[in-house]
């Protein structure tokens, strides 16, 4: 355990910008959620009506969870934040832990430290301490913010504890995956896959049942705190116990492997290669992640397709309809649900696109681009391969989700004309997601220090849509977001003009980035 203190200080120093930025984002999210819903539902009757409708809508329960006290405005207000926030927090904890364990090891920084007076377990322990500490601070700040927004004290604390428990479990889980996989990408990938399974288990347990499925999922535990609806504190013992168990397992695994190696052994590969050029290499590097993302979108499409149909039969209260139409536009409930779900998918597909573009940045900073660019490959051709995969990948993701959602929905309704309608709803999202790819290319191409532009846009644009109506932003400000211009398809007619403008914006940004890349120094 020698050196844990020093490593913790090192990690905090390295993340001195990242951590406060993340904390403020979560605080904004909870304050916005609390404020928004209180104004929408002024009376207990309206709260009860909305809560009953939400609980009776499988698609909503699947995505956000269940409301356990239909009279509690807190439970209603924080439903979305509790569910989505927990998922984002889990991803954040995973990235944080892997960043300070496997990434350091992969890049050789760990070796530099390991030669100093640092115990074998110290880097893992330090990473877990930093991530767990961040989660504790986040829980406290969140609870205080909720109290500040006027919600009950105990419920606010329970909400913080619910997020904390999810964050802790995935902190420990990432500690384990960082030992299993030998690359950063692999460690994050395996941990996110576990998160995906946890999400699915909770979604199934809360909707179709059996109910105990939710209890197999750490995300389910977060829900079972029931903040503002009973505040079940004993769930904390379950989450904490599990965290200790998993963190111990991670420490046992560290002692059983070599530095730099994973638990999965390296197999020898071919002695000669068939990669034909820059594009062949780009495809080889990107195909694995694309396959993983596509699988996720296919599963999501099937899920959305199978539950959206049920909503059309529901007798929704005016408030619930209002709720959905704000998300999905003026049309029937089922169509609104599709539009809302595809809206979320569009943001996630953009995330795929941005990370695919960021591969260029990674290749450049790791100096792998250097020998390629010293060969007959021009910068443009080198970059174009990755950008084409990012753009094509975004389209493939939305296409497969739309196709699966449409087919499942049409099969249930027995009307195969619906396939096209639902598919169109997914496809209209593509241009908006392409704009984000363009922003990422532009930032990276103009200067390496602007490479974060893509991720920043990905955080800011959806937030504009969430927070804009709550804080009464000017329309022009909200119109900056490409997602604001996507027609609410199906059913609302497809209008070509906004889509063309989005395509133009995406193409322009991509062009700016590629021209910039040709003109600047390569690291």
């Amino acid at each position: 355990m020698n050196g844990v203190g020093g490593l913790v200080r090192l990690a905090l120093r390295r993340d001195r910008i990242l951590l406060p930025a993340w904390l403020s984002m979560f605080v904004l999210l909870v304050i916005a959620s609390a404020a928004a819903t209180r104004d929408m539902f002024p009376t207990t009757e309206s709260v009860a009506a909305a809560a009953t409708t939400m609980n009776g809508t499988p698609a909503l329960v699947a995505v956000y969870g269940r409301i356990y006290d239909p009279t509690s405005v807190g439970a209603l207000a924080m439903l979305k934040a509790l569910g989505t926030g927990a998922v984002i927090l889990a991803v954040f904890s995973i990235v944080l832990v892997v960043r300070h364990t496997r990434s350091d090891e992969e890049t050789g920084r760990r070796e530099l430290l390991g030669a100093g007076v640092v115990g074998r377990h110290a880097p893992l322990t330090a990473a877990l301490v930093v991530a767990a500490g961040t989660n504790v601070v986040l829980a406290l700040v969140t609870s205080l913010s909720l109290m500040g927004a006027g919600l009950p004290v105990e419920g606010s604390l329970a909400f913080g504890a619910a997020w904390l428990s999810v964050g802790l479990v995935f902190t420990a889980a990432a500690g384990v995956t960082a030992q299993i996989a030998s690359t950063t990408r692999g460690a994050i990938g395996v941990a996110v896959a576990v998160l995906g399974v946890a999400f699915l288990l909770r979604a199934l347990g809360d909707t179709t049942g059996p109910r105990w499925l939710s209890w197999l999922s750490p995300l389910g535990w977060g829900q079972q705190f029931r903040p503002f609806a009973g505040n079940r504190w004993w769930v904390l013992a379950v989450a904490a116990g599990f965290t200790v168990l998993v963190a111990t397992a991670a420490h046992v695994l560290v002692a059983r492997r070599d530095l730099g190696a994973g638990l999965l052994p390296d197999r020898p590969g071919p002695a000669t290669g068939t990669l034909s050029g820059a594009f062949g290499l780009a495809w080889r590097l990107q195909r694995g992640p694309l396959l993983g993302w596509t699988t996720g979108f296919v599963v999501y499409g099937i899920l959305v397709g199978s539950i959206a149909g049920g909503i059309g039969d529901m007798t929704g209260s005016p408030e619930a309809e209002e709720f959905f139409k704000r998300l999905g536009g003026d049309n029937t409930l089922t169509d609104a649900v599709f539009a809302a779900m595809f809206g979320i998918l569009s943001v996630i597909a953009s995330a795929y696109g941005v990370q695919a573009v960021m591969r260029l940045h990674h290749e450049e900073t790791s100096l792998r681009a250097e020998p390629l660019l010293a060969s007959s490959v021009s910068r443009l051709r080198w970059a174009a391969g990755h950008v084409a995969i990012a753009l094509g990948g975004v389209a493939v993701l939305l296409l497969s989700a739309g196709l699966l959602a449409g087919s499942v929905h049409a099969a249930q309704a027995g009307d195969f004309s619906l396939v096209g309608e639902v598919l169109a709803g997914a496809l209209v999202q593509i241009p908006a997601a392409w704009v984000l790819v363009g922003v990422a290319v532009a930032g990276y191409g103009l200067a390496p220090r602007l490479a974060v532009a893509g991720w920043t846009a990905l955080a800011v644009f959806p937030l504009l849509g969430e927070l804009g109506p709550v804080f009464g932003f000017d329309q022009w400000l909200m119109d900056l977001s490409p997602y604001a211009h996507v027609p609410k398809v199906p059913r609302s007619s497809v209008t070509a003009a906004p889509l063309l403008w989005l395509l133009l914006a995406g193409a322009a940004a991509t062009g700016v980035g590629l021209v910039g890349l040709r003109r600047r120094d390569v690291a």
Binding site: E106, S182, T183, D266, R267, P268, G269, P270, A271, T272, G273, T274, L275, S276, G277, A278, G280, L281, R284, L285, S366, L367, R368, E370, P371, L372, L373, A374, S375, S376, V377, S378, R379, R519, R520, D521, V522
Partner: protein
């Protein structure tokens, strides 16, 4: 002979740091040219400008008759490059990367590839993440040496290689020169440059401080003398052109300016010489004078 590389007055700044401050470099076609300098002297920056990865702030650069910033891809078909710090894709094998780089350089000589894999005792089935730094270096070296390039640009290529492999590398460079290729070899391994290079440029703080053949450079410097005398070397230290004199009893070590050598030897013989070793200065000593004394 025509110049394969000609650089003059090259300047490049990164923010406020001046990396290159009027650097000159001429590499003749068909020669092995050593490019020497301490860490941070601007060697890698120069090479990256020659490769068109960085754009020079001012100065003129001609590489194989073209402008490396404008004619990048066309020029790159005629050169091969070995970076000082080779990183591989963790999930590709060394063999795959060799073939990829070879293809991107416009084809590679398969017989030579096989021969080099053998001579460097390289296992091409190993994945990139499992390769040591020496093995990563071998990947880049094999790809470059088995290409059909006219010009090889090598940035401290032997840093991670063991002495046996360094010997293999030296043989390979000698063969390349024999075939008429031009080699620009950046290094701070002096023995290597001494063995391999026809001409040398020494740079320091972004400027060229010396350039020429090794013998030309040695004229500028001193001769190293080690002698065993019959009596203590009194009075020798006062002689003009004698430097760094160390005497233990009758044993003596000093350096003498080459144009004063005659006087120094005459003085030594009056003292009675039992044993005398006179040798040209090693590049090490050249280097120490450039960077040690004046630094």
């Amino acid at each position: 002979m025509t110049a394969a590389i000609s650089v003059s007055g090259l300047r490049k700044a990164f923010g406020r740091t001046l990396a290159l401050d009027g650097l000159d470099l001429t590499v003749r076609a068909g020669e092995v040219h050593g490019f020497l300098g301490p860490n941070g002297a601007g060697k890698t920056t120069t090479l990256r400008i020659l490769l068109g990865l960085l754009r020079a702030d001012s100065g003129s650069v001609t590489l194989l008759g073209g402008d490396p910033w404008k004619d990048t891809a066309a020029l790159h078909r005629r050169l091969a490059y070995v970076p000082g710090d080779v990183t591989l894709w963790p999930n590709l094998t060394g063999g795959e990367v060799i073939d990829l780089l070879g293809r991107l350089h416009g084809g590679l000589d398969l017989a030579r590839r096989a021969d080099l894999v053998d001579r460097f005792e390289f296992d091409p089935t190993k994945k990139g993440r499992a390769c040591s730094s020496g093995n990563r270096q071998k990947v880049a070296l094999i790809a470059a040496l088995s290409s059909h390039a006219d010009l090889l640009i090598l940035d401290e290529p032997t840093a991670g290689l063991d002495p046996l492999m360094q010997a293999v590398f030296e043989d390979c460079v000698a063969e390349q020169r024999h075939e008429g290729r031009t080699v620009l070899l950046s290094s701070h391994v002096l023995a290597e440059v001494e063995k391999l290079c026809d001409r040398v440029s020494i740079i320091r703080q972004g400027r060229t401080v010396e350039t020429g053949t090794l013998s030309e450079l040695r004229h500028l410097t001193r001769t190293s003398i080690t002698a065993e005398l019959t009596q203590p070397p009194d009075g020798l230290a006062a002689l003009p052109g004698v430097h760094e004199l160390r005497a233990v009893g009758t044993r003596l070590h000093c350096q003498a300016d080459t144009d004063q050598l005659d006087d120094v030897l005459r003085q030594l013989s009056t003292l009675g010489v039992r044993n005398l070793v006179c040798r040209p200065p090693t590049l090490e000593e050249l280097f120490l004078r450039h960077y040690g004394v004046t630094a």
